[in-house]
């Protein structure tokens, strides 16, 4: 291996939602693809398995070096010490494993709407056919709600809301009757609820989606896109292979391949006509900055944004005695507050937010811990959790010059490459948005007959806000002007024609909605455009 260099049509680096779908679409279009993943394959049911008696498995888990009693892909395998945080406590999730963070996502699959694409160089109509393909492949469940900026898709039957979530819906209906603009809909997730020929296992509602779905019901790159790509016979998967360098030929202005380090520490090379980077918004930017490529605009690592939020918890006293004996469902959130400020923006902040709402009593994820102890404590514990509904805000941080990724001048990773540095500084607009969320959610809870159990109260500074580790986007944004953007509308580098980007780095703007479905739709669209260029003999 050390001396041999293999040649492919396309190298895809990163096997998460975007890289997985690129491998799938490109191999099906006839391309020979190398999929390079820094992590290893995690085996469902063996490397992760949240089912069963925790006590029986405790000794073996702890002996194996895990520190938490319950198996979880995220807790057990996510990277640590892989970035440097600057400012308002940025967090950054990275799972080096075949399938990437699609292994530990919640499955929330929301289309961006025509209003969201107004800030993009491509329209909703251009992406819509790929949303539809993605929903079919991913088997998204949901309810058709007819909302203009959260378009309906191809859905399997929705999962019902739990009772406290229905209370929130009631609150929303009451506020709508008073003229307020908002909607409350069942959550949409890439988890099958209907048996289909060739489809994945139907969900059995164990509630462990984010710990890793060991029955392979929830969509992941590793259980759907990559196996289907392998079936074509045109995919070669390189696991535990870390891309250390991008090979670039300045005379032809082309990338020619990559150098990678395998699990034994040996370096090898791969050559290809085209390189697709899909390493995550932070890691893709890091590799471009390290290699000094595709950055004539100076925009690589800029325009960084993720979702942030606060949580408000309500209690509905008449639900304290309800039956919660099987309340797991599809993890925690079964419902979504949306449709806020789509039509008329709030003058106090830019953009808008959505609120993921959940309820239920799952012993592995209790939301309410009552004060006290002793006799009666368990009864209060059950009642308080049975009656609670939690509202978790998700808004996009304002894009400013203060929020970006660059390279740490000193600290290096285990391959000797500079660590990425994440700079996060919330703006006044972000704080104003969070204040509006707290006021709105407290009002919904009260008008539905509940009381506010937990609230951040008055938000004075950024300390109250929590960033989403996994929703970073924008570091190689799409645009039509090479001076102000990194890739064109085909996700192709303005600077280097045979370099493409298949992850959420390319987002031109970030709405309140979860990014993965759009990442997948865009990577699929990119792959189609790329495949037709390959067929024409470009590159």
């Amino acid at each position: 291996m050390a001396t041999k260099t293999s040649t492919f049509d396309v190298i895809v680096v990163g096997s998460g939602p975007g890289g997985g779908i690129a491998a799938y679409a490109l191999t099906r279009a006839g391309a020979r693809v190398a999929l390079v993943e820094a992590g290893r394959r995690l085996r469902p049911g063996i490397d992760y398995n949240a089912h069963g008696n925790v006590y029986e498995k405790l000794e073996a888990r702890l002996k194996a070096g895990f520190t938490h009693p319950v198996s979880s892909v995220w807790r057990d395998f996510a990277e640590k010490d892989h970035f440097v945080a600057v400012g308002d406590n940025p967090r950054h999730g990275l799972l080096r494993a075949l399938g990437g963070r699609s292994l530990c996502w919640a499955g929330h699959s929301l289309r961006f709407g025509p209003g969201d694409f107004r800030r993009w160089p491509i329209s909703y109509e251009e992406v819509a056919p790929y949303y539809e393909r993605a929903e079919r492949l991913m088997q998204v469940h949901g309810e058709k709600n007819g909302l203009w900026n959260l378009p309906d898709g191809v859905f399997e039957k929705p999962v019902p809301m739990r009772l406290p979530e229905q209370k929130l819906k009631l609150g929303v209906e009451r506020l709508k009757a008073r003229g307020r603009k908002m909607e409350f809909v069942p959550q949409r997730k890439a988890i099958p609820t209907e048996r289909k020929p060739g489809g994945r296992t139907v969900c059995h509602y164990c509630g462990n989606c984010m710990a890793g779905c060991e029955v392979d019901s929830k969509y992941t790159s590793a259980n759907t896109a990559i196996p289907l790509a392998l079936k074509t016979g045109r995919l070669t998967v390189f696991t535990e292979c870390f891309m250390r360098r991008i090979e670039y030929d300045p005379r032809s202005n082309r990338v020619t391949g990559i150098e990678y380090v395998d699990a034994t520490g040996r370096s090898s090379g791969l050559r290809a006509r085209v390189l697709v980077l899909a390493c995550s918004a932070v890691e893709t930017a890091r590799h471009l900055l390290i290699n000094g490529l595709a950055n004539s605009s100076g925009q690589v690592g800029r325009n960084l944004t993720s979702h942030f939020g606060v949580t408000v918890v309500g209690e509905f006293p008449d639900l304290r005695t309800r039956d919660v004996s099987n309340d797991d469902g599809t993890d925690y959130y079964h419902s979504l507050l949306t449709g806020l400020y789509w039509d008329s923006p709030n003058p106090k902040f830019e953009g808008t937010y959505q609120v993921q709402c959940g309820a239920g009593l799952n012993p592995r994820r209790l939301i309410v811990t009552p004060a006290g102890f002793g006799k009666g404590y368990v009864k209060e514990l059950i009642a308080a959790n049975a009656a609670h509904a939690s509202m978790n805000m998700q808004g996009s941080t304002l894009v400013t010059s203060q929020v970006y990724v660059d390279l740490d001048p000193v600290r290096k990773d285990r391959w000797g490459l500079p660590l990425p540095r994440l700079h996060l500084h919330y703006s006044d607009s972000d704080l104003a948005m969070a204040r509006d969320m707290v006021a709105t959610c407290e009002e919904i809870i009260r008008v539905a007959g509940g009381r506010v159990l937990q609230t951040p109260g008055e938000i004075r500074d950024a300390k109250s806000l929590v960033i989403d580790s996994n929703h970073w986007v924008g570091t190689a944004r799409m645009g039509t002007d090479p001076r102000t953007s990194v890739v064109n509308t085909s996700c192709q580098s303005h600077d280097i024609p045979n370099l493409f980007i298949g992850d959420a780095s390319v987002f031109a703007a970030n709405p309140e909605k979860n990014p993965t479905l759009t990442n997948i739709a865009l990577a699929w669209r990119m792959s189609d455009l790329l495949a037709s260029k390959l067929k024409k003999g470009e590159f």
Partner: protein, 160 residues
């Protein structure tokens, strides 16, 4: 609950297939305090099995045996609990009556939102870990919460 009644209850913990009830991280004497603390925080309550019957002391001892993170906090906490018992009643915590044990824990739980003293910090830690151990046990989940989840169901039951 009297002290001599603890031992049959400890025996129930063995039902989980653990190799031995002999503690591996705690000394035998410390473990008696752990059992008494767990039993005070989450006692048997009608037909709801408490933390000791669920096997929580074994769970905590086993976790600390392998994972060092909370070791120091537990050892300091047990000292605080036994120190308080000694000062107030001239006995070890495990030798106190049920009412005396509750009184000690009540003093430690006064400021659980903003714990200041070693005993107050220990109350927050011990309740969190005893509760977690109870919630993850079969007895806690199935008999305590009457929870049927984390098992296969054909349909998610719509609420009405």
């Amino acid at each position: 609950m009297k002290r001599r009644e603890l031992f049959p209850i400890l025996g129930a913990g063995i039902a989980w297939g653990q190799p031995s009830q002999t503690p591996r991280f705690f000394t035998a004497e410390q473990y008696r305090t752990v059992v008494a603390v767990a039993d005070t925080l989450l006692p048997d309550d009608g037909d709801i099995p408490g933390a000791v019957r669920a096997g929580a002391p074994w769970f905590i001892d086993t976790t600390l045996f392998y994972v060092p993170t909370a070791r120091q906090a537990w050892l300091e906490g047990l000292e605080a609990v036994d120190g308080e018992a000694q000062r107030e009643y001239g006995k070890k915590f495990a030798e106190l009556s049920e009412a005396e044990r509750i009184a000690v824990m009540e003093r430690f739980s006064q400021r659980e939102d903003q714990p200041q003293t070693a005993g107050e910090h220990f109350f927050v830690l011990a309740r969190r870990q005893v509760l977690e151990a109870w919630l993850l046990s079969e007895a806690g989940q199935r008999q305590g919460l009457r929870y049927r989840g984390n098992t296969a169901v054909e349909e998610f039951p719509p609420a009405d």
